[in-house]
Structures are given as C-alpha cells and as structure tokens.
C-alpha cells in the first residue's frame, strides 16, 4: 500500500477456495454512447464466477446499469467480448439470449395492461410452458417474494404499491428459472424492514438454487450482506476494485474506494461484518473437553449457555452475555460496552453457543471465513 494515491484498476486477484469457472466474463469491454466523448464504461475486465453474487456499486452515473445491460446485450459494447458460460455471445441472437437471462430493471417496468400473474408468466409463455406448469410457477414465485397469490394474481400493476411492484419485478425475472440473473437495484423502493427480510430470503434462496447473479445497489450494507464479491465502480465507468466484501472494507485498493467505503469508517465496518462470517474463538461446554486453552461454559438442559466456567487468562469471571450469530460485530461491541465484559458468546437461532468473540480480537485483524460452508 505504498503508492496507493495513484488510482489503479484492481484486477480480480483473489482466487476463491473453490475455483468456480466464470459464468459471465467481460473482456476489455468499453462503451461510449453515441455523441459522447466520455466513456460510460471503460476497459472493463470482469469475471463473475458460477453461482456467485456479484454486487455492482458506485456513485450515480458510473456505468452500473450500462454494464448490466451489456451482459444481456440490451446495449452493444463499443469494443470487447462477452462470454456467457464460456460461449462468446457477442454475435448470438439477442432475444434468444435474453430469455435465458433473468433481468430485473431499475424502473420495474411491469406491463400495466397485464395482470400480475400474466406479468410473471411472460417468458414461460414464450418458452411454451403448459398452463398448469405456469400457474404453479406463478404461485410459487408470488409466495417467494411475499405476496399472497390469492390476493395478487389477478390484480393489475397500478393496484400495487411501488415496493410490491418491485417484488413482482423480481418474481418476473426469476420466472423461467434462469441460471443467470441481472438485477438493477431490485430492492430500491422497499422499506428497510421488508428489504432486510427480502435480503435474508434472497440469500436463503441463493443457498438452494445457486444462481449467478449480478446485482446493482447503492447501499453498501446491502452489497456487503449479499455479495460474494463487490465491484466498486468510479466515475467514467472505471472499475476501481473487485474483491470480496472483507477485502473491500479492510483493504480498499485506492483513495476512491476508501472514500466510498467511508473514511474513518473503522466502526462502520464493524456493522457491515456479520458474526456468522467471522472465524470465532472456539468454546465448549463444561466438562466435555479438557479446558486446555479455550473457554468453557456451563449449559442448561436445553443446551443454552448460562455462565462461563473457565476463561484462560481471565481471573474474575464476567457475566455470560450472548449475541446472535445473525448479528454484526457492531452488535457484539455494543453488548460488550454495555455489559462491561471483555467477551461475548455468539449463539445460533436456538441459543446454542457457536463460539466467542473477545474485545482483544477486535483490535487485531478479524479472521473471516468464506460465505458458504
């Protein structure tokens, strides 16, 4: 990090533990809109590994939508190549290609003269699915995005709120079960609480179906929460850094990314880091293991931790406080400060301890692990 003042284009440099082959590969892509001198996207080299979620983030007008639209050839690049699953799609029939790629546009754009069910069924109909299969699929997708099919199937878009329309937009993109999804701020118009729920469900679905997803967002929290990787775009459509959320947060490639992530944001970073993504300190229940170095606790009948029984290096036992695994490091720090304790037990949704986080660990490099086990 000696010459980090010079803005450099970060190439994908970190190979994931399981090397997935790129589902989408952009090679030297440049887009200049007619009559404009500035590039909308400049010299973009970019691999989206199979089954990954890649978050595209950056200030307004930096070419995120343009990049997304080049992937399904809604916009033709000025130069460069695009490979989809290894196949050069620069020359194939655009309409055929787009039926294989789910697309959720930024402005939603539901067909106002179609019912919600018909809106979702557009691509399956073109692909010639039979009626029953389409009906089942529509109901399934409406459930998925949290809209009760009985209430919503036969409504028209104008009878839905903006957020509900956006969810139908997501369902429509998923309709034909495409392997690749391009999503342009799909949760933009949704309230924080519903958005949080949708994000959780989105991750849950992704764990099951493992699609390759390019997801544009303006929300760094969303990018960190959902992304396997984050691509930070800068002005003029230049890719500033393409890396895992941890790397982006802890090692911004240049000043632009550092500023974008938020200068002096050490604390903010904590709120972006979920406990489930940390390599926690191992703990075990009292008596099961010989306490050679790691903390032990006493548990009740249900397996819930009630008190520390052995803490190496600590003479006076602090009270045992727990933080849920779904919380963030920020939450853990909050609890530690509040309860004046140097460590917390991190528990799963059934209150069973999964590990511990110590105050001391915060000032060291927080060890993280990959998203999926």
């Amino acid at each position: 990090m000696s010459d980090d003042v010079r803005p450099t284009i970060a190439r994908p440099m970190i190979a994931r533990p399981t090397i997935a082959h790129p589902m989408i590969a952009l090679q030297g892509i440049t887009k200049t809109y007619p009559g404009q001198t500035r590039h909308a996207v400049a010299q973009l080299d970019f691999d989206v590994p199979d089954g990954n979620i890649v978050m595209l983030i950056g200030p307004s007008g930096c070419g995120k939508t343009t990049t997304l639209k080049m992937m399904n050839r809604l916009i033709e690049p000025t130069s460069g190549r695009i490979l989809l699953d290894g196949e050069d799609v620069t020359g194939v029939d655009g309409d055929q290609l787009r039926r294989r790629i789910g697309y959720v546009i930024q402005q939603v754009g539901l067909f106002p003269h179609f019912t919600i069910a018909d809106n979702i069924a557009v691509v399956p109909r073109i692909l010639g699915w039979d009626r029953k299969r389409i009906d089942t699929r529509v109901d399934e997708l409406l459930h998925l995005v949290g809209l009760e099919p009985r209430d919503f199937r036969d409504r028209h878009p104008r009878q839905l709120s903006g957020g509900q329309q956006q969810r139908v937009g997501v369902a429509r993109g998923l309709a034909a079960d495409p392997a690749v999804m391009l999503m342009d701020e799909p949760f933009g118009a949704i309230d924080p609480i519903t958005r949080d729920r949708l994000q959780d469900e989105f991750l849950e679905i992704q764990r099951q179906i493992a699609k390759t997803i390019c997801f544009v967002t303006h929300d760094l929290t969303e990018a960190v929460k959902l992304g396997d990787r984050i691509a930070v775009f800068g002005p003029g459509g230049v890719l500033q850094q393409y890396d895992t959320p941890e790397q982006i947060l802890t090692h911004p490639a240049n000043d632009f990314v550092a500023e974008f992530v938020g200068s002096g944001a050490a604390v903010r970073r904590l709120s972006l880091l979920e406990l489930s993504r940390l390599e926690l300190e191992q703990i075990s229940v009292d008596g099961v293991d010989s306490p050679n170095g790691h903390p032990t606790y006493r548990a009740d009948a249900a397996g819930r931790a009630v008190a520390w029984s052995h803490l190496p290096g600590v003479s006076e036992m602090p009270p045992l406080v727990t933080v849920p695994l779904s919380g963030t490091v920020y939450d853990a720090v909050d609890v530690m400060l509040d309860m004046r304790t140097p460590l917390v037990a991190v528990v799963d949704h059934e209150d069973r301890p999964q590990g511990a986080l110590r105050w001391d660990a915060l000032v060291r490099e927080l060890p993280t692990k990959g998203r999926r086990p």
Partner: protein
C-alpha cells in the same frame, strides 16, 4: 307540408340515406385506420428511414411525414372531390377515396402519439425479457397505445360524417344528396324539409357512432389501463 309529415312520407328514402351515409363513413374510416395504423407503426419504429441516420434526423423525418399528412386536411373538401372526379368518375369510388384521405391523418397522428406515450421502462423490460420487435408491438405497444388510437379513429369518424355530405358533389351516397338537392332549389316545395332532414340525419348517424365508440372503448381497453 310540415317537417313531421315530410319525414313520415319519405321515411324509407331517409332510412336508405342513413344506411348509405353510415356505411360510407364506416368503410372510409376502416380503410383510413388500416392505412394509418400501418403507416403509424412504420413511422414510430423509424422503419422508413435508413439505420445510418442520426436519431435527430429520424425524429425530424417522422415529424415531416406527419406534417405532410396533415396538409391533406387543408385541401378544401369540395376541391378534393372535384380533383378526384376526372380520375375516379362519379359515385361511390371518389367519395370513398376522398373520405379515406381525410380520415387518415387523425388516426395517424394519434397512432404515433399513442405509441410514443408508452413508458420506456415497460419497453426496456419487454426487451430485457427477450420479446422481439413484433411481439413487443403486438403484445405491449399497440395494446397500451390503443385508447389513444381509438380516440383518433373516433375523431376521424366525426370529421368524415360531415365531409361525407360534400361527397354528394360527385354523386356520393348519403345525406349529402337531399341536402344538396334542397339547397339547389331553396324556396321550392319541401326544399327546406330536405335540408333539415339531411342535417338532422347526419346528427343521428353521429349519435349512433358515438354510442358505438363508447361501447367499443369499454370492451377493448385492457382493464389495467382503463380510467374509471
């Protein structure tokens, strides 16, 4: 003879004029609508201009075409039928052609306006889902533009009901015949009754069309975009 008495005695003739007038307008509006829809779609998609032209030139050429089409409306109807007569003779043919020429512009204008008013986001989504140009036009653009197009057809119909009267100058069918006969011999027996019957007849035909358009609009406007 009083007007009531006149109508009573001429009922079958007047009924015949009404039918003729109605059908003349119907055929002319149908022909004009087909021409205008086809032309409107071509103009809107810039199908008629070379790909190499800039966007500005293409939009400019579209507006020019619309301007030229509107010029047809400024030719006095009497003159137009006069001009058509040497080519098409007299009777139904010149009447139909003349009316079609007058009816095209309002429909064309509204077709282009209706197609342009479709939300770009909707089109973007349609393209993004892999709907080709034909599917997009038939499934998305035309249905959404339809209320505007239909109101253009309605305006064309009302204009043509009036212009059809003038078509009597080339022996066109309809209420123009009693009107012109009556006007030609004003002061003679029943001449005023003829003028009055022709005028009221036109109003009656217009009323029938208005009712028909109301019903058609209800029936053909997709529920999701209907203004209640």
């Amino acid at each position: 003879m009083g007007f009531g008495e006149y109508v009573g005695s001429e009922l079958s003739t007047l009924g015949f004029y009404a039918q003729q007038h109605f059908l003349l307008v119907l055929y002319a509006v149908a022909a004009a609508s087909v021409i205008a829809l086809a032309l409107g779609v071509l103009l809107h998609t810039n199908e008629l201009t070379p790909e190499s032209w800039t966007r500005k030139m293409r939009v400019g050429s579209r507006e020019t075409a619309l301007l030229l089409a509107s010029a047809a409306l400024t030719v006095p109807s009497l003159a137009l039928f006069g001009l058509l007569q040497p080519v098409l003779g007299i009777g139904v043919a010149p009447a139909l052609v003349g009316l079609t020429i007058y009816g095209t512009y309002p429909v064309l204008r509204n077709t282009v306006a209706g197609l342009s008013s479709v939300d770009p986001a909707v089109l973007d989504a349609a393209r993004g889902m892999g709907l080709g140009p034909v599917r997009r036009m038939l499934r998305v653009q035309l249905p959404l533009a339809w209320p505007v197009i239909l109101s253009g057809i309605r305006v064309a119909t009302l204009i043509l009901i009036g212009v059809a009267v003038v078509a009597a100058i080339v022996r066109g069918p309809g209420f123009g015949q009693p009107l012109f006969t009556g006007l030609g011999r004003l002061g003679a027996v029943n001449s005023f009754n003829q003028v009055l019957a022709g005028t009221l007849g036109c109003l009656a035909v217009a009323a029938v069309y208005e009712i028909a358009f109301f019903a058609i609009a209800r029936l053909t406007t997709p529920r999701g975009i209907r203004v209640r």
